[in-house]
Each structure stands twice: as structure tokens, then as C-alpha cells.
């Protein structure tokens, strides 16, 4: 049909926005370098944490007294060694694993504990945000209009509620993640988290504290890791919020 084939050109001429909401979001994200970099960095961190057992060149808990506090760039230890001569790269990779499961550090490692602690601390907050967003959207007239047109609850949730509620929830959840990373690192820095010799960024920061005058760079590494990870989460959630925003 002539009308349909002429459509895309006319749309471009009118400067109309792309077709679906989620495609608009993706389109905006693709044009936001800061968010893309943060996302990529985060992906890299998560991936390396997941693959730590295969990526780490050494056992994170096995050290050698002879090689204590080797500087960054030392032969065989790219990122140096800590105060007990353990490979920093391996420990950072393994530590990322620990930190990313966040609050589990407070209860000790293990999957059940991780799940329990994450649920207790973060689910209520996210649920509260989800609830208030839903209540607010639910009372709007376009929901009533959808009901008036005969739509059932599933159709209304899928087409009208979710897209308007998911944005705030996602943004809030991602800020909570960066918060939880700092929280977990902070707890183990104070000795309330994992027990040595387990590798965890906060704990590493604490134990390397005394070595700061011997080798300044190596103790800074776990701090840098914490900083970069939580910044990446913050940037990502900022970018998501911007991309999902639609003026009403």
C-alpha cells in the first residue's frame, strides 16, 4: 500500500520518535557515553568476579614471606603482593566476588546467607518504592480509561502499569546496590565482615593499612576497586534514569 511504504520517510520528516518506549530508552542509552562506559566497566567487574577462579593467576590465600609487599609491576605479580606475600590481582578478583554479593560479608560467605541478608536488607525498600509508584500510577485516569475500554487486569498491568513503574524501581534498586557495596566493604573494614584470610576489598583495605608507608600503591588498590565499582553503579543508575524519563 502506498500509505504504508511512504510511512518511514514521513516520520523522519516530522522528527517523530522511534516506535516503542523501550526502543526509545535503548536509543537514548546508546547515545550516552558515560552510562555506556559505566555499564561496560560494571560488566567487566561482574564478569571478572564471576570468573575469578579461572582468571586469578594464584591462590588468593597462599602467600610467600619472601615476596611480601612486592610493588605494582613486579615480575610474576602484575599488581604486586600484600603484607603476607599474596598475589594482589588474584585477591582483588576473588574479593570482587565477595563484595558483589554485598551484605553476605556481614553474615559470612555462603549462598543461603547471601540470599537471606540481601532479602532482609534490600527487598523491603525496593518493595516500598514499587508500592508507592504503583499506587500513584494506579490512580491516574489512563488506567481508568483502560478499564473503561474493557481491558482486564493483566493487559492493564502489561501495557499501562509496568512501563510507568519499572523505571523508578530500577533506578532505585541500582542506587541501593552501590550503597550495599560500600556498606559491605565498610563492615569488613571494621572487622565485622568476612574472616581472614578470605579476600574481600574492605578487609584488604584494612589489613594493608599498616603497609601504606612501605608501598603506597598496593594498599590503594582495593580502595580503588570499591570506588570504581560503586561509581560505575551510580553512573549507570543516573544514565538509566535519564534514558527512562518521559515528560508527562
Amino acid at each position: 500500500m502506498a500509505v504504508t511504504t511512504a510511512l518511514p520517510r514521513d516520520l523522519d520528516a516530522a522528527g517523530a520518535t522511534p516506535i516503542s518506549y523501550w526502543r526509545t530508552v535503548a536509543w537514548r542509552l546508546a547515545r550516552d557515553p558515560a552510562t555506556l562506559v559505566a555499564g561496560a566497566l560494571l560488566g567487566l567487574i561482574v564478569l571478572s568476579a564471576l570468573l575469578a577462579p579461572w582468571l586469578a593467576p594464584y591462590d588468593p590465600n597462599a602467600g610467600s614471606i619472601r615476596l611480601r609487599l612486592a610493588p605494582v609491576g613486579a615480575p610474576a605479580h602484575v599488581l604486586g603482593t600484600d603484607e603476607q606475600g599474596r598475589d594482589m590481582l588474584s585477591r582483588l578478583l576473588w574479593g570482587g566476588r565477595m563484595t558483589l554479593v554485598a551484605v553476605s560479608g556481614a553474615l559470612g560467605p555462603g549462598l543461603p546467607n547471601t540470599l537471606i541478608s540481601l532479602s532482609i536488607v534490600f527487598v523491603p525498600r525496593v518493595v516500598r518504592v514499587a508500592e508507592s509508584a504503583t499506587v500513584q500510577v494506579k490512580s491516574l485516569e489512563y488506567i481508568a480509561a483502560a478499564r473503561a475500554s474493557g481491558a482486564g487486569v493483566p493487559a492493564i498491568v502489561r501495557h499501562h502499569l509496568l512501563a510507568n513503574v519499572l523505571g523508578p524501581i530500577l533506578v532505585f534498586a541500582s542506587t541501593q546496590v552501590s550503597l550495599s557495596i560500600i556498606l559491605a566493604a565498610g563492615l569488613s573494614f571494621l572487622g565485622l565482615g568476612v574472616t581472614p584470610p578470605a579476600a574481600e576489598w574492605g578487609l584488604m583495605l584494612n589489613t594493608l593499612r599498616q603497609s601504606i608507608y612501605v608501598n603506597a600503591l598496593v594498599p590503594a588498590l582495593p580502595g580503588l576497586a570499591i570506588f570504581v565499582t560503586s561509581m560505575a553503579f551510580n553512573l549507570l543508575s543516573d544514565g538509566l534514569r535519564d534514558a527512562m524519563e518521559i515528560r508527562t
Binding site: 485516569e141 481508568a144 473503561a148 475500554s149 474493557g150 508527562t248
Partner: protein, 333 residues
Amino acid sequence: MSAAPLLEVRGLRKHFPLRSGVLQRTHAWVRAVDGVSFDVYPAETLGIVGESGCGKSTLARLILRLIEPDAGSVRFAGEDVRGASADRMKRLRRDMQLVFQDPHASLNPRLTIEDAVAFSLLVHGTSRAVARERARALLGRVGLEARLYGRRYPHELSGGQRQRVNIARALVLDPRLLVLDEPASALDKSVQAQVLNLLADLKAERALTYVFISHDLNVIEYVSSRVLVMYLGEIVETGTADALAQAPKHPYTQALFASAPSLDPDRRLERPPLSGDPPNPIDPPSGCRFRTRCAFAMPRCAETPPALRAVGEAHDVACYLYEREAIVGAPTG
């Protein structure tokens, strides 16, 4: 009017509970709509007028069963709306549609207007292609060329354009009855006129029946064939638009007409005909609810509420001032 009514509303009542405290105990009731009865005949426009908070919007939602009434019945084309099963209700909804007041809150910000209009059809099982085609045609009809506007989001449109989208969405299901809840109140005067004219054209084209709700008497007078005046959840007067404009009976209707702005200096008033706000619908006055603001209030007005009585052909009023007249005019004496 001898034809069978399209919509019959009988004794409709909705009281909203006001809850407070930890136990959410009900401590008061808002009497939003209190025993309202009227008929709407095919192809007419029934105007419903009243101040803010008199229950007009609640009434609209009750008619469409977006909220459940406490008592009373609504029949559409002879069919009981209140008792309809879910299946039956879904089919009934095709025949009765609502246009909302707020053009900003009534469109999903994350749907293009084409999708917003097509959605209603998809709900009723129309194929995506057909739904889209019909949505585009209807958008064109309300003055939003689909090629230019169809893929836009509501925030890219003006208030008047959004209200056109709302009208298209309501019409896409080919309803017989359109309830318009202050469809033009949020718009500029010039845009308001465009939307009202569009509604008039659509009504003629599609043989629609309108229930037109507004607080603006000028608008009501312009669009309606028959008018129903509401005060605090009750009907105080009904009649043809002409009869009401020429000889309003109820003191409240008189005050409403007197307070409508006029370009004629002779019709201008020195002081406002109505003072103060309407009483709180949580605890309305006893007897006639208007008596606290009425210049003609008598002792008996506080006792029992006056019933609607005929004062002319198809002209009813609920006021004791016209009781004698009504008895004279009534067939049985």
C-alpha cells in the same frame, strides 16, 4: 420523548467512607452521589451541571461501573449494567465510553498516541494491523493526521491535541453512549470551542448519545438538549436547556444562571448571587441541602428534603416554593 431510553439510572447512590486511625475505622461518609435517577434518550445530549464536588465525576464513573454503586441501578439499552457478568460487562463497555477531564493524566506517557487509541481494540480481540489502521483513521478524523502525529508521545502534544486523542480513544470502539466528564474544562477558550464543535460533528456523524458533564453553564447550554442540575450529590432540577435558561425554577439554578458571565450589561449583577462554598458533603444540611445558601429558605426546608416535582413539560424541580404550582399542574390533583 416516547422512544425507549438508552440509559436508565435509578436511585444511584455512592457514599465514600472516610477512614482514620490505625484500625482504619470509618468515622464519616462522603455522600458523593445520593439517590440520583434520570433517563438518557437516544441521540440526545444530556447536560449535567453543578459546582465542583457535587458528585458529577463520581456519577460518570458510576454509570460506566468504574466504581461500584452502594445502591440503585443502571440499565443500558434495557440491560442491567450493575449485575452484568464480567463477559457481559466487557461487551457493554464497547457501547459506553468515557472521555476524561484531565488531558495530561488520561494518556499513558509511554504509549504513542496511535498505540493508545489502538489498545482498546486489541483488548477486544481485533488484530494488530486492523486496530492500527482504524486508530490511524480515527486520529485523522479528530484532526491529528496519523502520518504526522501517530507515533508521537502525549508529552509532544498540546492539551487540545491530547483531548482529541482521548476522544478518538473513546470512539474507536464505536460506542453508542459517550460520557464526557468536563471534556473541555482544562483547555483554553479557543481550543475549547474547537473541541466542542468536533464533538458536535462526531455526534451527528455517528448517531451518538452524549452525557455531558460540566461546571460551565455556558458550555452546557451550548451543547445540551436537556439539562440536569446537581447540588451536593442530588438532582435539584431537570428540564430542557431552553426551559432552564428562560425560566430556571430552583433558587440554585437561578443563582447559577445569574452568575454566568454575560456580555449584556443589563444582565450583569452588582453582587454575587451565591456566596460561600457548598457545604461539606461529609455532613450535608438536613432537609433541602441547598437551604444554607438559599435566600428563600423556610423552616420546613430543614425538615424533610423536597422531592422532584413536575413544574412544566419535562421540567422537574425539587423545591417547596413550587409545591402549589406542582399540585395544580399534576394530573391527579
